[in-house]
């Protein structure tokens, strides 16, 4: 059952990711990226990461992608021009990517043999309670640094997106 759910959502994620790369219109890419994030949230749930799955849907698929779609609509971004690309990239890119993937798959196979498996319910310490406890004890300093980072990002975004740039 877990294998079936994993395969269904892995195939959806990969198909949507391919669609992100091959679509020429940014809106189609953005909608496909939401599909990737949604299916990844299901896979997180399968791995027992309840809090991360919820944050994935709320922060990534919700907030960040809304921001993307908003900017695409605001700039009225159309389909991108396909001409003027380097022919070498087209010729060499796909084989090199396939080689990269092959090496990665080989390493993963060597590092994690078949007996390492995951099943739903095998890890139950990914709840908001456990994540929150770790966040406010072990990871308190990174948490504070992250809040400063968010503040800097807010100010930076406001300054950059101001109407007059002088």
């Amino acid at each position: 059952m877990d294998v079936v759910i994993f395969l269904i959502f892995a195939i959806i994620a990969v198909a949507c990711a391919i669609n992100v790369v091959v679509q020429t219109h940014p809106i189609s890419s953005a909608i496909s990226l939401v599909g990737v994030m949604g299916s990844l949230a299901v896979i997180y749930l399968l791995l027992g990461a309840e809090f991360i799955a919820a944050a994935q849907v709320i922060v990534y698929a919700g907030a960040i992608m809304v921001l993307f779609v908003f900017v695409i609509m605001l700039l009225n971004a159309g389909a991108e021009a396909t001409k003027g690309r380097a022919p070498m990239a087209h010729l060499l890119g796909p084989p090199l990517l396939a080689a990269f993937l092959g090496i990665l798959a080989f390493v993963v196979r060597r590092l994690f043999p078949r007996e390492y498996t995951a099943h739903f319910g095998g890890f139950t310490h990914g709840t908001a309670k456990d994540v929150g406890r770790a966040l406010f004890t072990t990871y308190l300093l990174p948490f504070e640094a992250a809040s400063v980072l968010i503040l800097i990002a807010i100010i930076g975004a406001v300054v950059l997106a101001r109407k007059e740039m002088d």
Binding site: D2, V4, Q56, R85, G156
Partner: protein, 102 residues
């Protein structure tokens, strides 16, 4: 019954990361390049959560959470930069915004 090998999760993560790299290198629209970066960050998050499962520790979830925080900050600033570039150059093609290269 029906356990999924850990290596499948990591391979899915690798596939998504490779697709993100492909989008980052081959696409010419700034916004799509930016979305490819988000795709790569998502792939890395999947690895973190998988390692967290394998080690039976919650730490990977925290890393994944911080990646999300950084991605949100990056999206806010990056999209503001894209807005400014578009306002000054009237283009979203990265080949037209290469004055630092020349």
């Amino acid at each position: 019954m029906g356990s999924v090998p850990i290596s499948w999760f990591l391979t899915l993560s690798a596939v998504l990361f490779a697709l993100g790299v492909a989008g980052f290198l081959f696409r010419r629209s700034i916004i799509t390049v930016f979305m490819s970066i988000e795709l790569m960050l998502n792939a890395v998050n999947l690895s973190f959560v998988t390692f967290s499962y394998q080690l039976k520790k919650v730490d990977g979830h925290l890393f994944s959470f911080f990646v999300m925080v950084v991605a949100a900050a990056e999206a806010a600033v990056g999209l503001a930069i894209i807005l400014t570039v578009f306002r000054n150059r009237k283009t979203l093609n990265i080949d037209d915004v290469s004055s630092m290269k020349d």
